[in-house]
Subunit: 293 residues, 2 copies
Amino acid sequence: MKLLGAIEAGGTKFVCGIGKEDGTIMDRVSFPTTTPEETMGQVLEYFKGKDVEAIGIGSFGPIDPVLGSPTYGYITTTPKPHWGQYNLVGAVAEHFNVPIGFDTDVNGAALGEYTWGAAQGLDSCLYITVGTGIGAGAVVGGKLVHGLSHPEMGHIVVRRHPDDNYAGFCPYHGDCLEGLAAGPAIGGRWGKPAAELPIDHPAWEMEAHYLAHALMSYVLILSPQKIVMGGGVMKQSHLFPLIRTKLQELLQGYVQHPALNTDINNYIVSPQLGDNAGLSGAIGLAKLALVQE
Amino acid sequence: MKLLGAIEAGGTKFVCGIGKEDGTIMDRVSFPTTTPEETMGQVLEYFKGKDVEAIGIGSFGPIDPVLGSPTYGYITTTPKPHWGQYNLVGAVAEHFNVPIGFDTDVNGAALGEYTWGAAQGLDSCLYITVGTGIGAGAVVGGKLVHGLSHPEMGHIVVRRHPDDNYAGFCPYHGDCLEGLAAGPAIGGRWGKPAAELPIDHPAWEMEAHYLAHALMSYVLILSPQKIVMGGGVMKQSHLFPLIRTKLQELLQGYVQHPALNTDINNYIVSPQLGDNAGLSGAIGLAKLALVQE
């Protein structure tokens, strides 16, 4: 079975690994995200001699995933120092003459859960991560969603919770979803990190308000057959029932489907691939690149 | 060239027509939407002897478009009297033994604009109608968006305009997008129909606020390559520049693409098929049904 390389390029660390076409992960390492020179030096060194037949990259963004575009393969307008307008695919292609798959980290994770995880056998799903930022990717009709560019679902505008006076921390939009509901917003609003707040703290009801509003938009716009919620904040598993109930309240029975009714516990779920969703997704991107070559 | 039948099933009228595979419309009639017996009697009579090789139906909803579902082909939970749980595809299939395509009216219109209109040559687009209700359909990766069910984009929750005290008229959600920005909301809020309000009336700035918020969600979630805005309210063409400017303000340059910047006049457009978008879409659905048979 062919060996595939995987890079999960995150804002705090790059996770690299080797896997097989059936999704098995055979090796996994990680390097802190510092400068492109240093981090990519370690990444390229790791793959040397590993004899992979394709490499998949799921990256933090925004990125340019549009084949044929002059900046295809770049991380584009990120506020992260050193990484703006960085040619990530180019850096890998310079050293490895194999097909390279490239997409957002969250589109990658959606592909991973669709191929080997919670959404196997369906033809659509949505993966959302709630951590230091919020991002989501989606499979629709068996394909990752692209168009003008890639989805940026973490930055939608949500209706404010009536008791919330926190300004929001998104450098672009202030109080968009990410600005109001990512980890730093919880910390900024309540004065301590999410992980230190007791489960009966009002923070969680407010967090569920924002995430349920986001899911309502995703459901009404994309109609995914499964919603997978990952990321650091979602390790607080008591959030799941709060989010499910709020989403049902918001929808008011307008979309009639068991998934949104009696079967909602099986509709909004944790990543089946756990912390490997991102890396598995990058293996999925490598596999796609091999097919498309 | 094969003859195709088209039914645009709307809440006030059913438009029926005959077209060709190249999108040419050869005949067009309409019947008021009263009871299924009366309206469908006229529809079925119209197609008798017309010798069509497939029939496409774009219908008001919610509908069940999921092949294999026990209620496939039904109009489902509509509040419209007489039409709830009505087997529309079944009624047509009983009289015409040809492939039948079935989708929402707005998915149909999106398909029409994608195949023969403003989004030709692209592989994604969004069509939104703003009239007595608000609905939208989309093509992603060359295919109409389906999943759990069909999109219901008109019912997303939008952030309220700070000067708006209108309660919203949606029977399900009160002040969702449709409840705040469809034609009846404009009339209810300002005391006269949209068409009678002068173009410098504050109604239009508020309307643009809501529609731009909706487009922001659609852009960030679906990333469509073209947005086509139709329906009665959008006949007020002075809304277009207001919406474009507000969308740019909301996005704050986060998505870097000429379509959202210098080329926005060509990104958010009127239906190129004009009032035939819906009927052409139904012809498109007939053509798809023929291919899939």
